[in-house]
Each structure stands twice: as C-alpha cells, then as structure tokens.
Symmetry: C2
Subunit: 216 residues, 2 copies
C-alpha cells in the first residue's frame, strides 16, 4: 500500500521547493517508493479534520494503513528505516546519520527560520537593520561550524544519508540570501544534493502542483 | 561498557536543570543504565579536541566504544532504541513517539528558545517590549495547540515515552515566564514528568555537579 502525504494546494513559496513536503517527497524518491498526495488549502489546514492528523495545522502528514505521522523529520526517519537508500547498513553509521537529522532541524534550522521570518514579517520595523545583522551573525556561526566539519567531503558522514537530505533542505532556506555562498564547500554540498535524480523528481512534482494551482 | 556523556563543569543555568545533558541523564535513568560524565569548562568547548566530537562546541556528547554521537535528541533516541522504558513495543507506536521527539525540538523548541534568547540578550534594546510580545504570541500559539492535543491525557500518546521526555524538557525552558501556567493541563504534564523518579535522579546529578563547582 502506498502512503499518502499532504501538501499545500498552492505553496506559499510559489513552487520554489521550500515547503516541507519536499523533504518527504525526496526521501520517498530516494527509496524508490510510490506515494499519493492529498492537497490542502490554507483554510483546510486549520479545520478539525486536519488538526486531528496534525495538531499544529501544518503539512506534511504521512498516512500508511492505520499509522499517521507528522513532522517531516520523523517521516523521513520512518522511510529511512523501512527502505534502503537513506541509512548506512551498520548500526553505528545509522545512529550518526540520525545525529545529523536532529542537528539539521534543531541546531541549524532554528536561526535560519528566525532569519527568514524576520525578513518576511519585520522588514519595515525600526529594529530590522540592527537585529537582522545579529541574526545573520548567528546563522554564520553555524554555517562556519558546519563548513569546518564537512571539509572537502561530499556528504556529512560517508555515503549520502537522510542526514544530508535534511541538512541540504535546511540550507536551501537561505537561498534568497547570499549566506551559504560565503562557504563554497556548503554551496557545493547543496548543489550536489539538488543534482540527485531523486531530488529532481521531488522538486518537479511539487512544482507541477503549484503550476496547476495557478492555471485554474 | 557504560557510555560517557559530557556536561558543563559549571552550568550557565546555575543548576536549574535546563542544560541539555539533563535530557540524556533522564533517558539513561529511565532505561536504568549507568553512565560516566566528563565535565567541560566553557573554554574546553571551543577547543579542537571537543570540536572533533561536537562540531558546534556544545554539550552533551555520548561516547560508547567506538561510537560518538551528539545532539541530545539523537542521543535520547539511541538510548530509547536499545533499552526498554522509552518506546512502546509496537512499531507504529514507536514511530509516533519519534514524531513527538522531532516535534518537541523542531516545532515547539525554536520559538521557546527565541523567547529565552531575547530575554537574555535583548532586554535593554529599544525594540524589546514590542518584539517580545510578538514572540510570546508565537509561543502561545504552539502551547495552545499542544494543550488541545494533550487534553486530559497523562502523556502525549499512551504510556510515557521519549517523546514526552523531550517535550517536557522543552516546556521547562519556559519556567521563568508564566506562559506554561496559562495552560493548566500543560503545567500538570510538566509536573508529572518532573515527579518521575528517573527525572529526580537526573536533576540531582546535574545539581551536584553545579554545587561542587561553586564549592571549589
């Protein structure tokens, strides 16, 4: 039975590939697993039907038989545990890949999201200039540490893993700034992820949804 | 072989139990596993020796034979997978517990940390009052959603799990505000976690480290 995920009927990023269903689509493509998509309007996200599946009114969810999951990190981990292609074979390598998954969403992503939220919602506030500079510095600190650890390796720990999938997805959120470009090995790392055929298929699938929403 | 974790020699929260080694200590206590602790000064965190284990210069780390992990969420998951007491027996229940683990650190914790960082570092800035009100509102949105989902249950999904352990640890970071108290079921949930003997042992162990640092 194919799982069903939820995604935005009309993504607020206008098909740039930054909504979190893309992480799950990418994982399913790496694993070679077909899936169905149920599209949701913004209004539907806040309705009791969806809140019963996702208490925070977000996408994506993941339904497979009588199992319902939410949170893209947890869903990617579930897929990685059940199919080849996203975790190394050995238990220690798998535990390290999970370390990178948590690091992506809980160490790297929070200042990156704070930076993005400020640019979206506070650009006209009198404090925008001084405060965005402070947050940029926090983001740079994390990028510099990640860049130092990655060095000249292709991926964070051996072969491509679910840890790289989430880390690259997080770094993509900085695309509209130039911050990642200050660290050439990180920019190359993101490009390496985006060049994977599985990513290309995931990106194309979400873009097709957005384009269809505009054609209506 | 007992694992070795790292912790602050002198915790910046002065023994209040908010440093992230407590999450790992708590998990090890729930699992009934002995562990060793290596204490680190603030200076040591930024030295190459520690950065080789933890690229972001943080605690805790977890060393067990030739395996080194970092990120408290990933470490708690590793412990939960290997010992009874932190995950339900069935695979679907375990996947849902992992959903709550990711939700704790990537949906609930970021606005809570932003709130705490602003109070620590921006209280004298001219924008403090209007902006902290905005961030408090973001925190309240998440607390209200979590409160609605928890309802009158004891734990988030059946028996106590690693998902509750991380969620309660995240909510504790709001202790110096009154935000959790606005949601009586969440306040009771945190108190229920803190009453667990395993939590009490973890809290006492970190407090003893802080008190020893002050006695020197």
């Amino acid at each position: 039975m194919s799982p069903t995920i939820t995604a935005f009927e009309s993504s607020p990023d206008r098909g740039k590939g930054l909504s979190r269903d893309v992480r799950v689509r990418w994982a399913l493509e790496e694993a070679g697993q077909p899936y169905d998509v149920r599209l949701l309007s913004f209004a539907a996200l806040k309705q009791p039907g969806h809140l019963a599946l996702q208490p925070f009114g977000q996408i994506p969810t993941y339904e497979e038989g009588d199992l319902t999951l939410f949170d893209s990190g947890a869903i990617v981990l579930h897929i990685a545990e059940r199919h080849a292609g996203l975790f190394p074979e050995d238990a220690n390598g798998r535990a390290r890949a999970i370390t990178w998954m948590f690091t992506a969403v809980s160490t790297m992503e929070p200042p990156i999201v704070e930076h993005g939220m400020m640019r979206l919602f506070e650009s006209h506030e009198p404090w925008f200039e001084p405060r965005i500079a402070m947050i940029e510095q926090r983001v740079r600190t994390r990028l510099a540490q990640l860049s130092a650890r990655l060095g000249d390796a292709d991926w964070l720990d051996g072969a491509f893993s679910a840890g790289d999938l989430l880390m690259i997805s997080v770094l993509q959120r900085l695309r509209s700034s130039n911050l990642v470009d200050e660290y050439p090995n990180l920019a190359a790392y993101v490009a390496r992820g985006e060049a994977r055929p599985a990513y290309q298929r995931a990106f194309a699938a979400q873009l097709a949804v957005f384009e269809a929403s505009q054609a209506g």
